[in-house]
């Protein structure tokens, strides 16, 4: 990777460190979910369907998902700030490849998301979350988290670039939010009574990241969820990066 690319990614990370409200809010929201859900309905974790990891391991994936949701608007906001100040034009005139101007803040956001995911995993491990395959489980969770985060960042940056309004970067979070409730978020498939919700959950990509993580944690899901999740989110992240890059052509310089 050339120096200009590295410098721009570094700049994106420094921007997030200087204005950490988005990732910290995402992290705070995730911890809140973990605490509240486990405290409120953690008692059901003694049922067989939750496996040996209990409710804490079962609900843990939701904290990983909500983490990226809370911070995915960061890249779009960085781009918007640069465009408003005119600095984006100066970067655009530099010898740095133009695609990196869009990808750098997205990567910075994704790296930040990974950092907080590692923090969450440490907190989870201390609190008693089980990792079925040890470090391999952690690696699998990080890969899924990376792809999920990149997907959200790409769409949020792309939408912001097309609309030119920083508020629109949050559209993705709002759009994804209902998907959390149309999945096996709070209860395992065996305990969901509504057939329609079960049907919808099959078509909901969030189900595959949730269940994929559960396979890696307490082993309450099958490996196929993890592999299908990997394929789905590899494809969505590629599509979202393409969407963001194509949106960069819509910018009025």
């Amino acid at each position: 990777m050339n120096t200009a690319n590295i410098l721009l990614i570094e700049r994106g990370i420094i921007k997030l460190i200087k204005q950490p409200s988005a990732p910290i809010m995402g992290f705070g929201m995730s911890l809140f979910f973990l605490l509240v859900y486990n405290a409120g309905i953690g008692g059901v974790g003694s049922m067989d369907a939750f496996g040996s990891g209990g409710y804490l391991s079962f609900v843990f994936p939701i904290t990983i998902i909500s983490l990226a949701m809370g911070s995915s608007a960061g890249a779009g906001q960085t781009l918007n700030t640069d465009m408003q100040s005119g600095y984006f034009r100066r970067l655009y005139l530099s010898p740095a490849p133009r695609w990196i101007l869009v990808v750098a803040p997205m990567l910075a956001d994704t790296i930040s998301s990974l950092f907080f995911t590692i923090l969450l995993i440490i907190i989870g491990a201390i609190s008693g979350v089980t990792f079925q395959f040890g470090l391999l489980s952690v690696l699998g969770i990080l890969i899924l988290s990376f792809l999920w985060s990149l997907t959200l960042c790409g769409f949020s940056a792309g939408i912001m670039l097309r609309t030119g309004q920083h508020q629109s970067a949050a559209i993705v979070t709002n759009a994804v939010f209902p998907l959390l409730f149309l999945s096996t978020t709070f209860l395992p498939r065996e305990l969901i009574t509504a057939d329609w919700l079960l049907d919808v959950s099959w078509g909901n990509p969030v189900t595959y990241i949730l269940e994929g993580n559960r396979y890696l944690l307490a082993g309450t899901s099958s490996a196929s969820f993890f592999y299908i999740g990997l394929i789905i989110f590899a494809l969505t992240s590629i599509f979202s990066v393409i969407f963001a890059l194509s949106s960069a052509n819509k910018i009025k310089i």
Partner: protein
């Protein structure tokens, strides 16, 4: 001799239907101080944006230092410096950090970048501002910083689009001193657009007059003055006004 900037039949139409450039042809030699004049909306900034690769042309060709932007964009970006009408500054960064980052982005090593930052801070008299965030600078100092950023990488060709707007007379004099020095001692080619014709008259030697997307005159400033008023010497300002007035009268009599 190959021209430093060569433009052949350049056309640009905006999506709203405005034909901003109508077959522009120009040649500017290396080390020359060129100014592009014309009324508001004539297409000056559009031409600068096309030449600096900010926007795409519709048709025609241009080369910069013999390089075609379609085949080697990054090479062109390395040799041009651009100070446009609007400030292009990250307000959250400190003055010296912004300059250093710009240098690094253009391939300077860390020590080279630090050395260049110190030079530019001294040249643009930003010593007391170097550790301030750009947002905390006065309007004039923001403008100085904006212009300094265009010079970090020792550009071979400098595009200045209304560069001194918002500068006080002292800053303006200081700015022109830096630019003319670069032009004379380093043979930097200058492409200037300005509405301050006294500045163009004082510093530039060649000019083109752009009206409604078309070049109406291209040559030396001295010849332009002679053409407009063969019998007596006039400032560029007066010559320009007289020429535009004549042009407007001709257009209106054509329409009638």
């Amino acid at each position: 001799m190959n021209a430093e900037i060569q433009i052949k039949g350049l056309f640009k139409r905006y999506p709203n239907g405005t034909q901003a450039l109508k077959g522009i042809c120009l040649e500017i030699q290396k080390g020359h101080f060129f100014t592009l004049l014309g009324p508001n909306g004539a297409g000056k900034s559009t031409l600068v944006k096309v030449m600096t690769t900010l926007i795409n042309k519709d048709s025609g060709n241009f080369t910069i230092a013999g390089i075609n932007p379609e085949t080697n964009l990054s090479k062109i970006q390395k040799i041009i410096g651009v100070a446009s009408q609007d400030n292009e500054i990250d307000p959250t960064e400190k003055v010296e950090n912004l300059l250093a980052f710009q240098g690094r982005l253009f391939g300077l090593t860390k020590p080279e970048s630090i050395k260049r930052v110190n030079e530019l801070i001294e040249m643009f008299q930003l010593d007391t501002e170097r550790n301030k965030k750009a947002s905390a600078l006065s309007g004039g100092n923001k403008r100085r910083l904006h212009c300094a950023l265009a010079l970090v990488h020792h550009p071979q060709i400098l595009f200045l689009d209304e560069p001194t707007v918002g500068m006080d007379p002292v800053a303006r004099a200081n700015f022109w001193e830096i630019i003319t020095q670069m032009n004379k001692s380093e043979s930097v080619t200058i492409f200037l657009t300005t509405q301050y014709l006294d500045e163009a008259d004082k510093h530039a030697t060649e000019m083109a007059l752009l009206v409604a997307g078309e070049i109406r005159y291209s040559g030396t400033i001295i010849d332009f003055k002679k053409m407009v008023n063969p019998d007596s010497s006039m400032s560029l300002d007066d010559s320009y006004l007289k020429y535009i007035k004549t042009l407007t009268n001709q257009e209106s009599s054509k329409n009638n």
